[in-house]
């Protein structure tokens, strides 16, 4: 299904305990089936925004609306909604004491109450999808960074989330492993999964992004669709400067 806003962020503010204002009135929407790319300089608040979306951080003001429901400020609703959002971290955060298979099936079995055999079958399919069918029994420490990140993606997908959030998932990887992870993400985008992708990979952003949000200093400076328009003709000076520094 396409069309309609799945996530809507309305003028949210977030100030960390240190006194640093990381988000200053950010608004944006993510449509169903859309791949939204967020770019911006380091420290502009991109990670903070994703963390506020999935409730890892509390917001100070504004509203986060997911699927028509205001989840900010309602702890119970947010806990219920959390499995609908799959977050993939820059640092993988796999569970080192569990095998790849156990990493993937833990949440479906314990949270969604799926039967173990069923969860394993589904996990097997996901591992195939990310090209790691032969690694089910391995521990995270036995995998390369790129492999670990693909397992992390499979782990998030196993919950059947309705949106996937990616926070610079290739930044911690060696250059030769970036491609394999981006390829998986491209497939997901092509399948029509709703995705929010924070990335420094501008080639990927341009190719896959159906819309781009440019953030700077805790604010959304510019939104453009399709993504290529942003890279070819940025509307603001700040965006132009940002792009000049990168290319």
């Amino acid at each position: 299904m396409t069309g309609g806003d799945f996530i809507s962020v309305e003028r949210i503010y977030k100030t960390y305990d240190s006194g640093l204002a990381a988000l200053k009135g950010v608004s944006l929407t993510v449509r169903r089936g859309e791949t939204l790319v967020i770019v911006g300089p380091s420290g502009s608040g991109k990670s903070t925004l994703l963390r506020c979306l999935c409730g890892l951080e509390e917001i100070d003001a504004g509203a986060v609306v997911i699927d028509g429901q205001v989840v900010s400020g309602d702890a119970r609703l947010r806990d219920k909604m959390r499995p609908e959002l799959g977050l993939v971290f820059q640092s993988f955060n796999l569970f080192p004491h569990l095998t790849v298979m156990e990493n993937i099936t833990l949440a479906p079995v314990r949270v969604r109450r799926v039967k173990a055999a069923e969860a394993e079958k589904a996990a097997g399919r996901l591992l195939e999808k990310v090209g790691l069918a032969d690694k089910a029994g391995a521990r995270p420490a036995q995998l390369s960074g790129g492999q670990q990140q693909r397992v992390a993606i499979a782990r998030a997908l196993a919950m059947n989330p309705r949106v996937m959030l990616f926070d610079e998932v290739t930044s911690a990887l060696d250059p030769e492993m970036i491609g394999e992870v981006l390829a998986v993400m491209k497939d997901l985008a092509a399948e029509g999964l709703t995705m929010v992708v924070v990335t420094h990979e501008m080639g990927f952003a341009r190719e896959v992004g159906e819309a781009v949000v440019f953030m700077d200093g805790g604010e959304v400076v510019e939104r453009a669709a399709p993504a290529a328009r942003f890279f070819d003709q940025p509307a603001t000076d700040r965006a132009r400067q940002f792009l000049e520094k990168i290319f």
Partner: protein, 294 residues
């Protein structure tokens, strides 16, 4: 520059036995020999080690081996230590989770419990549990009656695992007192291990929808437990040594047996040296065993 010397780690060269090490060793040997010589020459004392083995292990009339007084004491010491450590681990984990809780009430409660345990001498806690709680407040006597009426098999098992029913009240109050005392240290170990787990583990599991209980059970505690294992093993050895203070309530563990024996036979020095040696062998053996397990 010669490339092979370039890659030699500096520590390797320093490992050699130097002049300073030799001096320290010589001084230590001299001190020990002096004491031994003093003991042999000045002390008007008839050493007789030959009577000692029978107090560890002895042959009964029917030819079967059975523990002597010190052997029995060592057995009770180990039993006590296992009970104390088990109780301390459970209670310590609870206190650690309490101190890490989001609720101010639980944090204060467990903090208070830990501080109380840490700031009182364990020997006094053993007395308090035995005299005040054990005889006045806790329903030990009634409990003991109940236990005596258990089916014989269960009673035998319990008496083997703990103490004969006549001494069960003392045994249990000693276990409670020291388990509580040690729980403060166990809780510190658990707390440190939980805090050492990367924040990303909490965040990833939370994003997947795990409840706090599930996070602890499936993600945090399995990793924290593994990290805490070496310190827990070390703490167990402390427990074995610490258990010697229950001799003050006449529980016949190793220290109590030694003091009893040293008062009844002439070989006082041999008795205490043997007891010390038994503690050492037991604990050193345990630490070797734990080291092997890791």
């Amino acid at each position: 520059m010669n490339s092979s010397s370039h890659f030699t780690p500096p520590q390797l060269r320093r490992r050699a036995f130097g002049l300073f090490d030799a001096a320290v060793l010589a001084a230590a040997l001299a001190a020990v020999s002096f004491l031994a010589w003093q003991a042999a020459a000045d002390l008007k004392y008839g050493w007789n080690w030959s009577v000692m083995p029978q107090f560890i292990l002895t042959r009964g009339a029917d030819g079967s081996w059975r523990p002597g007084a010190l052997g029995l004491g060592l057995g009770l010491t180990l039993k006590l230590s296992l009970w104390i450590a088990g109780g301390a681990a459970v209670l310590g984990l609870g206190l650690a989770l309490g101190r890490l809780s989001g609720s101010f009430y639980w944090r204060m409660l467990s903090r208070t419990a830990v501080e109380a345990a840490r700031n009182m001498p364990p020997v006094i806690m053993v007395f308090i549990f035995f005299f005040f709680l054990g005889s006045q407040i806790l329903p030990w006597p009634r409990l003991i009656e109940e236990i005596r009426s258990l089916p014989p098999a269960a009673l035998t098992t319990l008496e083997f695992a703990a103490a004969p029913s006549g001494r069960l009240a003392a045994f249990m109050s000693a276990v409670c007192a020291l388990a509580y005392y040690e729980a403060a240290y166990f809780s510190e170990i658990f707390r440190g291990a939980v805090l050492s787990i990367d924040r990303g583990q909490w965040e990833a599991s939370r994003c997947l929808g795990l409840s706090r209980f599930q996070q602890y059970r499936f993600i945090i505690l399995p990793q924290a437990g593994r990290r805490a294992a070496p310190q827990l093993a070390g703490q167990f050895i402390s427990v074995v040594k610490e258990s010697s203070i229950v001799s003050v309530i006449s529980l016949p563990e190793l220290t109590f047996r030694a003091s009893e024996l040293s008062a009844t036979i002439h070989q006082m020095y041999e008795v205490w040296l043997t007891a010390a040696l038994l503690y050492f062998i037991c604990n050193f053996g345990l630490s070797l065993l734990f080291g092997r397990l890791e």
